[in-house]
Amino acid sequence: MATFELEHLTKRFGEHVAVDDVSASAEPGEVVGLIGANGSGKTTTMRMLLGHIRPSSGRAWIEGNELSRPAARVGVGFLPDDPPLDDRWSVARQLDWWERLRGPAPRRESIEHRLGLDRHKTIGELSRGNRQKVGIAMALMHVPSLIVLDEPATGLDPLVRQELWALLRFEADRGATVLFSSHVLNDVEHACDRVIVLRDGGVAFDGAVDALLADATRTIEVDFAAPVDPGVFTTLAGVDEVHWDDRRLTITFSGPADPVVKALARHEVIEVTASRPTLEGSFAHLNRSTT
């Protein structure tokens, strides 16, 4: 059974369609990244999944339960962007209270330890990153089956960020489903098995990160021994842009590299510098191709 299912979800705010016919689901053990430009519908989709806002049409389930039933959210752990904590309380008191609200938290101690939380500090004294860590502990300590995180790495230093990804991978390995949004595509690429790209409220891509990367825009810089005709490269499949400058050719392309490599092989090449495909490139390509 899927951990969550969204079926033709649409959300309108007056005339504005924020989310348009989004269908998606995720299985236990998956780490799914939700990405998109500002206003693409990421947050609205997450908020509908959590029952914070009601869809204008469509339905959603968590572990087979319709979202309108509070029982559907028993297994949900949620980290909002900038978690609203109680500034006058200590970290320990905040987590104690959260345990009283949500019930016993078997993994509290281990998560506190992994995140390096100082139990005695007052929330109001904490940096943005440390507040985020308290929020992460609250999202994970009840051993949730669905973990929803909105920009989870915000404010975290690189080491804690690594620890977060390790924690989320651990959660997925024990069978939880992780869904998170991020505007840092590097994080998504690093942490996700699957990525859902939203554009103008609709799903522009839903699949494995590798599949998205295969479509990524890449750049190759080639130094030739003698001048070449750049026009030869502009007609190749997948080539977006060709730039010739003093025996150096810069080719921007997407899709398989094979046609470009074979065309280069017909000339005397001195040096090739190729960039690795990135999610940024894929995202940019996807946005261009669907515009």
């Binding site: 029952g51 509070p70 029982a71 949620f78 909002p80 209270w97 929803v148």
Partner: protein
């Protein structure tokens, strides 16, 4: 039964409750301290008798030389009820709409907590926080009253305290409904304070002009504090209606919140 929302609501407002409690206790003590002077000087009653009807309606149409009449005029007909109403409105607005605006409702409602239970516990928070200054004032009267020969019975003190507390809760309930409907603290405060001003205006107009008497019937001032529970005893009919109104308002607020999108 565990009530974590109520527990948190009170814990976060402990200092505020203490401040309001000390404030209302001190104010009550000051009023009590003045009573012997007023009681022993008949000119105050003569002066009061010359007040126009609308003013008497607001300060309590009673003799200042009697303890219950004095307390009604100086404390229980306007100052304490308005203070309690303002506390109820600001607490209800902050606890529901304010927490929605800052995203706290979204955090707790991402779990299995039902929205009607959330509203119920927030309403209880308002009831407890509001009871603080009323109880502090009552304790000061209970302890200090005999020292100044106030002659206010325990039953009368209980009646006026309950009436004042319920008076505040009615306005808190209005703020709760507005917050549940709109999710904005400013709207909730405006609705609660707006209704308080309307109720005050209705009481004045109703006491002044015969054409406006029907307005007075809509005013909690008239039913809960204008009837002077300290002098005439508990207005049981008004108390029952106020309790039912507050309970219905909480239920209505819960339904409104269940049917709307969160703001934060």
């Amino acid at each position: 039964m565990s009530a974590p929302i109520l527990e948190r609501g009170i814990a976060l407002r402990r200092r505020t409750m203490l401040g309001w409690g000390i404030g209302s206790g001190l104010f009550t003590a000051l009023i009590l301290a003045v009573f012997p002077v007023i009681r022993d000087d008949p000119t105050f009653d003569e002066l009061l008798a010359e007040y126009p009807e609308p003013v008497l309606a607001l300060v309590g149409d009673a003799t200042l030389s009697s303890g219950p009449g004095f307390m009604s005029a100086e404390l229980y007909s306007l100052v304490l009820p308005v203070m309690v109403a303002v506390i109820a409105v600001t607490t209800a607005a902050a606890a529901l709409a304010g927490e929605d605006e800052r995203g706290w409702l979204a955090l707790v409602l991402a779990g299995p907590l039902a929205r009607d239970r959330l509203v119920g516990e927030i309403a209880l928070t308002v009831a407890v926080v509001t009871a603080g200054p009323v109880m502090a004032s009552a304790v000061v009267v209970a302890v200090g009253g005999p020292l100044v020969e106030l002659d206010l019975s325990f039953a009368a003190l209980a009646a006026v305290s309950v009436s004042t507390w319920l008076f505040g809760l009615v306005f808190g309930a209005v703020a709760l409904i507005a917050g549940a409907y709109d999710g904005r603290r400013a709207t909730a405060v405006t609705a609660g304070v707006g209704f308080l001003l309307f109720a005050y205006g209705a009481e004045i107009v109703g006491a002044t002009a015969s054409w406006g008497e029907f307005l007075r019937e809509l005013s909690p001032f008239h039913h809960l504090v204008g009837s002077q529970p300290a002098v005439d005893g508990a207005p049981w009919g008004a108390i029952v209606i106020a309790v039912l109104t507050v309970l219905a308002a909480v239920e209505f607020a819960a339904r409104l919140l269940t049917r709307r999108d969160l703001v934060g």
